[in-house]
Symmetry: C2
Subunit: 104 residues, 2 copies
């Protein structure tokens, strides 16, 4: 049980799962992440990215260019968590109609 307990602690809630998904195939900038997750506030996104970086799930890279640029991407650790969530995503897709029905 404590494995599941620790894992659920790491993913926290809905937004972090969706952030894992948003970054799983390429680095993203802050603005992109906000567009990919409609409804997330700037404050919540900032806080979640900070927590995920502290948890070593997300890497934050600042590029010192004429226009400073910051990118967020998944670390190896973050990618392994995303992989562990794939079956849950597949379950959701497979039962999408039933979930919509019970939640209607």
């Amino acid at each position: 049980m404590c494995g599941l307990d620790a894992a659920v602690d790491m993913i926290g809630g809905k937004w972090k799962v969706l952030l894992l998904w948003a970054m799983h195939d390429q680095p993203r900038r802050f603005g992109e992440l906000r567009r990919l997750l409609p409804g997330i506030s700037e404050k919540v996104l900032t806080q979640h990215l900070r927590e995920m970086a502290a948890d070593q799930i997300v890497r934050r890279e600042a590029f010192d260019e004429t226009v400073p640029r910051v990118e967020y991407s998944l670390s190896e650790f973050g990618l392994s968590l995303h992989e562990a969530l794939r079956p849950l995503g597949a379950w959701g897709t497979q039962h999408m109609d039933r979930i919509a029905e019970v939640r209607a």
Copy 2:
């Protein structure tokens, strides 16, 4: 993305994941569930069980005996969700030390 979104909606948070675990191998009574999830209040447990039953994840059976008895167990649908969470549990167990370290 929406599969994962829908699935995360169904598991809601930490308690429901632990309730899935607690009922995955045998029916449980209310009191047993409270003992297995130290820290959950009677009110939250009642509400979660009601939601999980409405979501068709949990079956509630009342036995009309001299002393009325109520048991909660996972439906087939609930068991399939528990199975989909196994890899996440394995990930948590595998990375237990690192999770404890980053969260210390």
